[in-house]
C-alpha cells in the first residue's frame, strides 16, 4: 500500500545548463521542483528535476485534475 503524504510547501526553479561533462546536456532547460511533505511523523523534502517536456506533461495532468474538480 502506498503512503499518502501531505504537500506542505512547494518551490520551483527554472534554469538552463550552460556547460557539462556530458555534451548532450548543454543548453537544456530544466525545472526543479522542491516539495516539502508531511509524512505524519516528520517533514520530508523531495527534489525532482524535470525537462521542459516532462514539466509540460505534469502541468497537463494537474490541469486535468483541476478541471475534474470543478
Amino acid at each position: 500500500m502506498t503512503k499518502n503524504f501531505q504537500l506542505v510547501d512547494l518551490a520551483w526553479e527554472l534554469g538552463v545548463t550552460a556547460a557539462s561533462s556530458c555534451e548532450e546536456q548543454v543548453g537544456q532547460t530544466y525545472v526543479r521542483i522542491k516539495m516539502k511533505l508531511n509524512t505524519g511523523s516528520s517533514l520530508e523534502t523531495t527534489v525532482m528535476e524535470l525537462s521542459l517536456k516532462q514539466f509540460y506533461d505534469l502541468l497537463h495532468e494537474l490541469e486535468k485534475a483541476q478541471n475534474n474538480m470543478k
Binding site: V16, A18, S20
Partner: protein
C-alpha cells in the same frame, strides 16, 4: 619480551604482547584458543557471534572473563594483521614463523596464515570514487525571486559501492574545492614515492 615482527606489525600492540605472554606460559587451553581464532575469523567476515556461543566458551574455560576478552582482543589484532599484509609482501613461511614466535602452535599458526588466501574479511573501508559528472547550471528564475541568473555547479559522484551522491556547489565553494584539490596535488608531487 622482545619480538621481531617485520610483516605483521610495525609496533606490536599491547593486546598481542599479552596474548603472547599467556600462550608462552601455557595457561591457555588449545581448544579455547582455537575457538577464539574461529570467532575472530567470523568477526572479520561480519558474522555475528551469538551470546550462547560466548557463554559456552566461558563455561568450557576456567579462565576469567577479563582474560578471555584480552585473549580475544589479541587474536583479533593478530588475524587482522595477517589480512592486512600487502599481497606482494606476503610470504607464508615468514608469516608462519612470526606467528609461532608469538607463541601459537604450528597448526594454529598455519590456520591463521592460510586465512590470507582462503578468507575475505569484511573490514569496513572508505568508499572509492568511481566516476564524477558535472554540469554548470544557470538559475533564471525561482518561486521566490523572479530574476536571478546565478550560476552554480551540480556534481554527481558515483562510488564503487554503487552509491550515487549529487551535490550542489555554489561558485565560491567550487573555488575553495579547486584550491584544496590543487594543494593536494602539490603535496602529491612533493612526496618521494
Amino acid at each position: 619480551m622482545n619480538y621481531t615482527s617485520n610483516l605483521l606489525f610495525v609496533t606490536v600492540p599491547k593486546s598481542v604482547e599479552q596474548l603472547s605472554k599467556q600462550l608462552q606460559s601455557k595457561i591457555v587451553d588449545p581448544l579455547i584458543l582455537q575457538t577464539l581464532i574461529d570467532f575472530s575469523v567470523r568477526y572479520w567476515k561480519g558474522e555475528e557471534i551469538c551470546h550462547k556461543e560466548w557463554e559456552a566458551l566461558l563455561k568450557n574455560s576456567y579462565l576469567p572473563l577479563t582474560m578471555i576478552e584480552n585473549l580475544f582482543s589479541g587474536v583479533l589484532n593478530l588475524t587482522l594483521a595477517v589480512f592486512q599484509i600487502p599481497e606482494k609482501l606476503f610470504t607464508p613461511e615468514l608469516v608462519l614463523a612470526e606467528l609461532i614466535q608469538f607463541g601459537l602452535a604450528v597448526e594454529q599458526a598455519e590456520q591463521i596464515t592460510k586465512l590470507k588466501t582462503t578468507s575475505a574479511p569484511n573490514i569496513p573501508k572508505l568508499p572509492k570514487l568511481n566516476h564524477v559528472k558535472w554540469r554548470i547550471d544557470v538559475t533564471i528564475s525561482t518561486s521566490d525571486v523572479s530574476r536571478i541568473l546565478e550560476p552554480w555547479i551540480l556534481m554527481e559522484i558515483n562510488l564503487e559501492s554503487g552509491d550515487q551522491k549529487t551535490v550542489h556547489i555554489p561558485v565560491a565553494q567550487f573555488h575553495s574545492l579547486r584550491y584544496q584539490v590543487a594543494s593536494c596535488l602539490n603535496q602529491f608531487s612533493k612526496m618521494p614515492v
